[in-house]
């Protein structure tokens, strides 16, 4: 069974070989050449360095198109028209499914027709050299963003290709994104990814790794996000990763969001080994958006104001076209500019919210309890503990497409709009915290004159796209 131990040099080389076997580009990249390429990059393209050294909140969009030149042009637009500080390269769905044959077809068709026949950049098919060309052609650090449960070849190619940051992890790129993988399986895959990042790190190329904190994007209780990010951080650290960005998706309640970022920072420092540099990322609202662009601007605005108060190291922006489909470059840049305007208008202001401490304390205690349960379940081994904890529902995620999570927790908002646990299943959080959650939901139920039920959850899920935070019953 999977265990949280550093892969040996030999194991790394063995997996490496197997992984590169599937590389459509022919020969595997030479590790030494890859390191040389990284070493040739100027300071302003070194992801970890830029992120960790920044004074203000950095902005980063999501964006990916099939063709190399188009991707360069798209990233250029996002820097020029959107003031993006950090850049993404979002990978297409076929590559995420390891369907490189289909990705190649899509790529070819895109070249022939001149239209985008893939929903992202097929980095594996482009291959190492073309990735390096992308990195050379852009003016800011670039991160691989995807959603790939088995991202081994993608990591091997893109890290050799000069990318210095790689999103995802065994839990966060499994449970929300697929129904097809066991956790034990993806943990193994990501041990390779992390070990590879560790190998670069040992050569002085500090690859940044970023768990995908928002998970299913929909009313995820902060403690669950944070606990899972910490676990992925611990697993990555074991493999030698030294730059880790913990992630969290906005829930929409200002106090809870600020408390969550604060808790994440504090717990990151507490739980991760001293040699790891921990940073944080805040995602603007990841659930259903209003279709109307003006209203979407409002949602983006609230995310930006929250970030200005919570001061994470970076913010991932949304576009006003979120509900409609993949945004145009212009709409993507618009989301960045609105965010930039708000961050800068608020950056000089010292804003302290009442009640953050109390909420932060609730979150921190829940996280400690969840991590404790994982450690116990694995008899001290966090990898094994993760598999077992999810199996027993001690750790769980709301609305998982995957059967690897019990899916027994059900979140709803309390009367103040904070995300609470309506159903907590076997979730390993302290009893008094569960009681507090229940009490808050009862308050709301009383205010609304109805029982807490799935209908309340459904109303909350759709509330923001319907123009509000809490899904109250229609007034008569």
């Amino acid at each position: 069974m999977v265990r949280d131990v550093t892969l040996s040099e030999a194991e790394l080389r063995r997996i490496d070989q197997k992984v590169w076997d599937r590389y459509p580009g022919g020969d595997p990249a030479e590790f030494r050449d890859a390191v040389d390429f990284h070493e040739s990059l100027p300071a302003e393209k070194q992801f970890a360095r830029v992120l960790e050294g920044a004074e203000d909140v950095l902005t980063q969009p999501r964006a990916g198109v099939p063709l190399l030149d188009d991707q360069i042009e798209l990233l250029d637009t996002l820097v020029r028209d959107g003031n993006a500080d950090l850049l993404p390269t979002t990978i297409d769905s076929y590559t995420r499914d390891n369907a490189y044959e289909e990705a190649r077809e899509g790529l070819n068709r895109s070249r022939e027709t001149g239209t985008d026949e893939l929903n992202g950049f097929p980095a594996v098919n482009h291959g190492v050299e073309r990735c390096q060309r992308l990195i050379e052609a852009t003016d800011a650090p670039v991160q691989v963003r995807h959603g790939t449960p088995d991202a081994r070849l993608l990591a091997a190619v893109t890290l050799a290709g000069g990318f210095q940051s790689f999103e995802g992890g065994p839990i966060t790129y499994n449970l929300p994104y697929t129904s097809k993988y066991d956790l034990a399986e993806t943990i193994e895959y990501w041990q390779y990814v992390d070990r590879l990042a560790g190998a670069y790190t040992e050569q002085g190329i500090r690859i940044n790794r970023e768990p995908f904190g928002p998970l299913t994007g929909t009313l995820v209780p902060p403690s669950i996000s944070i606990a899972i990010c910490l676990i992925e951080g611990l697993l990555a650290a074991t493999q030698g990763v030294r730059s880790i960005t913990l992630g969290y998706g906005q829930v929409g309640n200002l106090v809870q969001d600020v408390a969550a970022i604060r808790a994440m920072e504090a717990l990151g420092r507490e739980f991760l080994p001293r040699e790891v540099t921990v940073t944080t990322v805040f995602h603007q609202w990841m659930g259903g958006f209003p279709r109307d662009e003006a209203r979407a601007h409002g949602v983006i605005g609230l995310g930006s104001v929250t970030a200005a108060m919570a001061e994470p190291d970076k913010i991932i922006t949304k576009s006003p076209q979120e509900a409609r489909g993949v945004p145009t470059a212009e709409a993507n840049a618009a989301g960045l500019r609105e965010t930039d305007q708000l961050l800068r208008m608020l950056e000089d202001q010292d804003i302290v919210l009442d009640g953050v401490d109390r909420e932060q304390e609730l979150i921190e205690r829940s996280v400690r309890s969840l991590i404790g349960a994982v450690q116990d379940a694995g008899n001290g081994d966090i990898a094994r503990g993760t598999v077992r904890a999810f199996d027993r529902g001690l750790l769980d995620v709301p609305f998982p497409p995957s059967e690897a999570a019990a899916g027994d927790v059900l979140p709803a908002r309390d009367d103040d709009g904070r995300v609470r646990l309506l159903k907590s299943g076997e979730l390993a959080i302290p009893d008094d915290v569960v009681e507090t959650h229940q009490a808050r939901l009862e308050e709301r139920a009383v205010a609304e004159g109805r029982d807490p039920s799935f209908r309340m959850v459904a109303d909350d899920v759709s509330a923001i796209s319907n123009g509000r935070l809490v899904g109250r019953p229609e007034e008569n």
């Binding site: 299913t216 609305f399 497409p401 029982d451 039920s453 459904a458």
Partner: protein, 148 residues
């Protein structure tokens, strides 16, 4: 007393399950029998499930933009089984910023009986299904209280 039987699921490689999760619960509450196939369900599995439960309706959800490819062959496979359900599709069906009327026409041609915009709210879906099967408010069960 059990109402008409409905199969729901997200087709293809699509993992967006929030919509079908809400649909499942709402339909149950409204008195329908529901079989939720969840995420990333191949077209054949919809047919197999419809056959197995003798479904009155199959509700296909797709959010990630590949509905057209993913639904290829669905109606052909359904034609082969003994059940004869009406078929609905909904979610985010347009690729890019296509007009909804164009999208609706395309999916109607593929065999879907009804095509829903992504703004569709759950109560509307329940309403349409009630009308479809002539069931009325009476079948609806009281909202069940959830507690942990």
């Amino acid at each position: 007393m059990s109402g008409p039987t409905i199969v729901v699921g997200t087709i293809g490689s699509d993992a967006h399950v929030i919509g079908v999760t809400l649909l499942e619960h709402a339909l149950r509450e409204a008195g329908f029998e529901v079989r939720n196939l969840g995420a990333q369900t191949p077209a054949e599995e919809f047919a197999a499930a419809a056959d197995e439960v003798d479904a009155n309706a199959v509700l296909v959800s797709s959010l990630y933009g590949h509905a057209e490819q993913d639904c290829e062959g669905l109606h052909e496979t359904l034609a082969e089984v003994s059940a004869d359900p009406v078929t609905y599709i909904g979610g985010n069906l347009a690729v890019g910023q296509t007009e909804f009327e164009t999208v609706r026409r395309r999916f109607r041609e593929m065999g879907f009986d009804r095509v829903f915009e992504s703004e569709t709210d759950i109560d509307a879906v329940v309403e349409v299904l009630r009308t479809e099967f002539g069931t009325d408010e009476q079948v609806s069960q009281p909202v069940t209280r959830v507690s942990s």
